[in-house]
């Protein structure tokens, strides 16, 4: 059951990505990442690495980043203890030469819980310009030391799905089929009434004959029971 469901959802996701092939443009995209671990309202950003998406349509990407240093991990742990947020700044450069700054964050404890595994999602608009860079981490909440200081980063590139359109074609086909069926039905149905419905009439007749034959008995039974 469960696996079937997963299969279905996989199918759905595949089909949705297939449906989403609305992107007319292709191009590259470069993200430079900065992050902040400090537990204050003003972030202090330090460089984290960069992501290069060579083709936005296929989503192929190369991630280059260094491992976390121990002071940073300690900072991250204090941040997680205070229920703080790990902030990431991404400066995106597109093939059209635009430079756009994005900011995203996630609870620091999730990052520790997943041992520095994170997902960077880049959403593009219909013109293949990035509109959102967001970070998420699948991990549970934890304030323990991660067993690695290396990032495990997945990059996902998403773009808008094509909007639905009213499905008139099937409807017209259906109407067409119904009309044809009706026409065919009308063409065939010029036999006589008896010819068409004999299979219903004959059993009914037999039943009537039989029941009429037995009814006096029933009546008698009724009468006799009355007499009781």
């Amino acid at each position: 059951m469960y696996t079937i469901y997963i299969f279905i959802s996989l199918l759905v996701s595949v089909s949705s990505s297939a449906r989403g092939s609305e992107l007319d443009y292709d191009g590259w995209l470069q993200l430079r990442l900065w992050h902040a671990f400090n537990d204050e309202s003003e972030p202090i950003f330090v460089e984290r690495g960069n992501v290069t998406v060579s083709s936005v349509r296929s989503g192929a990407s190369v991630v280059g980043q260094n491992g976390l240093l121990q002071p940073h991990i300690n900072q991250l742990k204090t941040l997680a203890k205070h229920d703080g947020k790990y902030r990431l700044k991404a400066v995106a450069r597109t093939s059209s030469g635009n430079e756009i700054t994005f900011l995203t964050s996630l609870p620091a404890c999730n990052l520790l819980g997943s041992d520095l595994e994170d997902v960077i999602t880049i959403w593009l608009d219909s013109a293949a310009e990035p509109i959102v860079v967001s970070i998420s981490s699948p991990g549970p909440c934890s304030t323990e030391n991660p067993f690695t200081n290396m990032w495990t980063t997945n990059v996902i590139v998403k773009y808008p799905d094509g909007g639905p359109v009213p499905d008139t074609a099937t409807y017209i086909q259906k109407l067409e089929r119904e009309r044809e069926a009706r026409e065919r039905g009308e063409a065939k149905d010029n036999r006589s009434f008896l010819a068409r419905y004999w299979m219903y009439i004959v059993p009914a007749l037999i039943f009537v004959v039989l029941s009429s034959a037995t009814s006096p008995e029933a009546g008698g039974a009724g009468g006799s029971s009355q007499r009781q």
């Binding site: 949705s16 309202s41 900011l103 608009d125 959102v132 799905d161 009213p166 499905d167």
Partner: protein, 922 residues
């Protein structure tokens, strides 16, 4: 543990299924008689409609036709005739919306016909029948200079329409048309080389008066428009004011029949008037700067009316124009609640047997219109209601008696004896009042109107309306009567957010003895800084009055927690990203929940959306820090809608049962925001993008794009679905698309949804439908507990208001009819409009700008208020009134049947015993 959990899950599962079945039963019941509609005898029972015309732009008295009336043209592009005696609308013609229907000139009433010029380039000239409002003629007027339409002046006289356009540095071009046929009669060019772009010109037919120069050397130049040979006359400012007047000067034409201009000087401290003619005559008398002027003729003598308003008193001083001799019998002074800095926009003073009686049509600053006749206000119309910007529907307070009971049980002490004493005491009091009312002694002293109390089913409520004029109204829902009105002067809507004014209910009327409280958030007219105005929504009394905040507001939010006195604070975010709380006393409570408080802002011009967290706040001060930021590049797209869910909405059912009895769980994210953008620029024109964004985590959930479609876009966002409408350019039809979000067959968190913990994206079902009418506005119904199925209230361009079941736009409507689910109708591309689902039947409402829905005390019933040019109120029951007996329930029949059964059983008993007796005797 595990089996327990499983069984618990299973229970929930079963419960959900049960709930679903219940819902489907309700739906089925609803389907069985798809008639959502009214019975004919229910007309006007739950609904009312009020017609308005809008802020008056032009007005004139129709003294020519048999039935005297007032013809008005308004800012809302309406031409209407008002009854002289009552102010009721005799007929009303609503022209095109916005720029295309803008009325530029109205005239000819004194000649017995009515000609209007409306629209942009080219304008449309329409001649109307004065008496009935039919159109007589219509023709478009050709315009050569498209960009100069706002400089064109129109003059309608004797069946001729003059189109007057100053041509810079050269002349004034006057083109005359026959106002009926549109034939071009004549084109003249009157030389006026002095007119430049900066020249201030007013039309005082048959002259054009222009003021040139700003200093004391300013000259007033007069051009006769119909005499090509005449030279411009010039009058220096000094001849009008004498020496010593200071600029800047301001030129205005004086309303009325005579060609007169007024010039104000000394920073609008004083003004003087000048009669324009072959020989201009200046009147050497100072008039106060803030007086508004009107010239009316009485017995062929011109009389100047000066209207001033001070401390609630409107004074109209009349004087002879030329001699300045005051005329006390025409001068009046009125104090009335519905006048606020009024100006006379039309006036007549006919000679009658008793003498001269003047009628003045006064238009106030707050858009209301009033007719003044001889010191008396005959009627007033609240035309501000034609432009409602914010609505709340608020419960009425309990009656005095219920409040007494409430106080009785509200005491903290739980001592038996004292409680009994109190009980007896209050019962005695009740008995006393009952006796008093029975014997009709002194009427009860009450601090409220007797009928303005909460009813059993919570159907009688108070609608609080905020209008663009800054006037607030309280309207009760039963009859639509205006209970109170309030003026807040010097405010305007947020200019960055298309003049929206925000209304919050800080405290409802359930917390006796604390009064209910509403707060208005707007901008100061002068400085653009934020203001808060608090008032009691039931009585219309100001509470804290107008509070100037001293900073500009970027975003605001109502806290969901209350202070000890049940007041919900307002979180205000200023443009420097500082967070404030109103009232200040709520800061501590706001700080206590700051850890989980997020604010997001969307800037339409820069396309930047940012999210802020308040987690670094201390109990004294709220500190925000940015946690996400994204950019919808204004080069490609323009944000048109940001729609979040109704914060009071409740979702009853967490999932949806499929045909195989499994549950598909809804993705119910309260932080989900729909953002709609329309493409800009050549390549992205006519594209529509819709983004679903989590406002807390800043994560994009879903995005969709439509090509070759355009607005108007209307979005409804509720529960786990979004329904939006747009116009499809390719197929040239209005379409409704619908999205529905599901988590899948497993719920990630059964108790509470967290934006930060959920990383899985939802499954999005989608479908589009053809809608066979143009849409003006859409809103979903809402009920107290969310059990009742949702309908969408759609205001149509043809004046109807349609109640569209959400089932009709369900994206899971199967295309293949073999796949059947409970309560799902097979897919059809076109949504039919059933006539009996038009909830306002033939009471068409035009120019709908918004729909407000509110739950009532009954789960089945939702209150609907539609505003636009007209106001309409009704109530709907999307799943039929399953929780009350039908109002046509036949009580008599059931009584008769019961009685008959009782009697017959008694009689048969008798008969049986008789029979038994007889048998025994045999």
């Amino acid at each position: 543990m595990a089996p327990f959990v499983r069984s618990f899950r299973g229970n929930i599962h079963r419960f959900l299924i049960d709930v679903q079945i219940l819902q489907y039963l309700i739906i089925l019941v609803g389907l069985f008689n798809l008639s959502l509609c009214l019975y004919e005898d229910q007309v006007g029972k739950f609904d009312w409609k009020q017609n308005y015309v809008g802020k008056i732009k032009f007005a004139s008295f129709d003294t020519v036709s048999a039935a005297k009336k007032i013809i008005v043209a308004t800012e809302e592009n309406v031409i209407a005739a008002l009854n002289l005696k009552s102010g009721q609308i005799l007929w009303r013609r609503v022209l095109e919306k916005g720029y295309a229907g803008q009325i530029r000139a109205l005239g000819g009433v004194t000649d017995g016909d009515l000609v209007s010029v409306s629209g942009g380039v080219p304008a449309i000239v329409r001649a109307w029948d004065l008496a009935t409002g039919h159109i007589l003629h219509e023709w478009p007027i050709a315009e050569q200079n498209h960009d100069r339409i706002k400089d064109v002046k129109w003059h309608i006289k004797d069946g001729t329409l003059h189109h007057i356009l100053p041509i810079y540095n050269s002349a004034v071009e006057v083109t005359s048309y026959d106002s009926k046929t549109g034939d071009k009669l004549k084109t003249r060019r009157v030389s006026a080389p002095f007119i430049t772009q900066e020249t201030e010109c007013v039309l005082v037919a048959p002259y054009l008066a222009c003021l040139k120069g700003d200093s004391s050397l300013a000259v007033l130049l007069l051009v006769h428009l119909f005499d090509t040979h005449s030279q411009p006359q010039s009058v220096t400012i000094n001849t009008i004011f004498g020496a010593g007047a200071q600029g800047p000067y301001h030129l205005e034409s004086v309303l009325g029949e005579e060609p007169i201009v007024s010039i104000s000087a000394d920073n609008n401290q004083r003004k003087r008037i000048l009669l324009v003619g072959e020989v201009p005559v200046p009147i050497q008398r100072d008039i106060v700067g803030d007086a508004t002027l009107y010239v009316v003729s009485v017995d062929n003598e011109n009389i100047l009316l000066e209207t001033t308003y001070k401390n609630g008193v409107t004074e109209i001083v009349a004087s002879e124009l030329l001699t300045s001799k005051s005329m006390p019998n025409i001068s009046t002074s009125v104090t009335h609640n519905s006048l606020l800095s009024p100006t006379i926009i039309a006036s007549v003073c006919p000679r009658q047997t008793k003498g001269v009686t003047c009628r003045h049509l006064l238009a106030s600053e707050d858009h209301s219109v009033a007719l003044l006749q001889h010191n008396k206000l005959i009627w007033a119309r609240e035309e501000a209601l034609a432009n409602v910007v914010a609505v709340e529907i608020i419960e009425l307070p309990m009656s005095d008696r219920d409040q007494e009971i409430e106080t009785e049980f509200d005491q903290k002490e739980r001592d038996v004896l004292s409680m009994m004493f109190r009980r007896v005491g209050s019962q005695l009091k009740q008995a006393k009042t009952f006796l008093q009312s029975m014997l009709s002694f002194t009427p009860q002293q009450s601090n409220q109107r007797m009928d303005l109390v909460r009813d059993k089913f919570g159907l009688h409520k108070m609608i609080v309306l905020v209008t663009s004029a800054g006037k607030l109204y309280g309207i009760e829902t039963r009859k639509g009567e205006i209970i109170w009105q309030l003026r807040v002067r010097g405010i305007r809507g947020f200019s960055k957010r298309s003049d929206a004014i925000i209304l919050y209910v800080q405290r409802g009327s359930r917390h006796f003895p604390y009064p209910p409280q509403c707060a208005l958030l707007a901008e100061d007219k002068q400085t653009g800084e934020g203001i808060v105005y608090t008032f009691n929504p039931i009585t219309g009394q100001p509470l804290d009055g107008l509070v100037k905040l001293g900073y500009r507001i970027k975003q605001s939010m109502l806290l969901h927690v209350t202070t000890d006195d049940f007041l919900r604070g307002i979180l205000i975010f200023d443009i420097r990203d500082k967070v404030h709380v109103y009232p200040k006393s709520a800061t501590a409570i706001a700080a206590s929940i700051a850890k989980n408080t997020y604010i997001f802002t969307a800037d339409q011009t820069t396309g930047i959306l940012s999210g802020y967290s308040l987690s670094y706040s201390t109990s004294q001060e709220l500190i925000s820090h940015k946690v996400w930021e994204l950019l919808l590049s204004p080069k490609n797209q323009k944000i048109t809608h940001v729609v979040s869910k109704n914060p009071i909405e409740r979702v009853h059912s967490q999932g949806r049962v499929l045909s195989d009895r499994s549950v598909l769980y809804k993705y119910i994210n309260p932080n989900l925001v729909t953002i709609v953008t329309e493409g800009v620029g050549h390549t992205h024109k006519n594209t529509l993008n819709l983004y679903l964004l989590d406002a807390v985590s800043g994560a994009m959930i879903f995005s969709i794009m439509h090509k070759r479609v355009r607005g108007p876009v209307h979005v409804v966002h509720s529960e786990n679905w979004i329904v939006y409408s747009y116009f499809n350019e390719k197929s040239r039809r209005t379409e409704i698309a619908s999205l529905e979000l599901y988590e899948g067959k497993i719920q990630s968190n059964t108790t509470v949804f967290s934006s930060l913990a959920t990383t899985k994206l939802p499954i999005v079902e989608r479908q589009a439908f053809i809608f066979p009418a143009a849409i003006e506005s859409m809103r979903e119904t809402i009920t107290e507990k969310g059990i009742t199925s949702k309908h969408i209230i759609v205001a149509l361009a043809n004046g109807g208001i349609l109640e569209l079941p959400w089932m009709m736009v369900d994206p899971r409507r199967p295309i293949n009819p073999e796949v059947r689910e409970e309560g799902v109708i097979p897919y059809m591309p076109e949504i039919p409009i059933h006539m009996d689902a038009i909830i306002n039947y033939n009471q068409s409402v035009f120019r709908v700008s918004g729909i407000h829905t509110s739950p009532s005390g009954l789960e089945s019933t939702c209150l609907v208020f539609v505003h636009g040019l007209d106001l309409f109120y009704t109530r709907v029951a999307p799943s039929k009134t399953f929780d009350v007996l039908k109002e046509d329930f036949d009580y008599y029949l059931i009584v008769i049947v019961l009685a008959a059964l009782l009697i017959s059983s008694y009689i048969t008993k008798k008969l049986a015993s008789q029979k038994a007796q007889k048998q025994a005797w045999k």
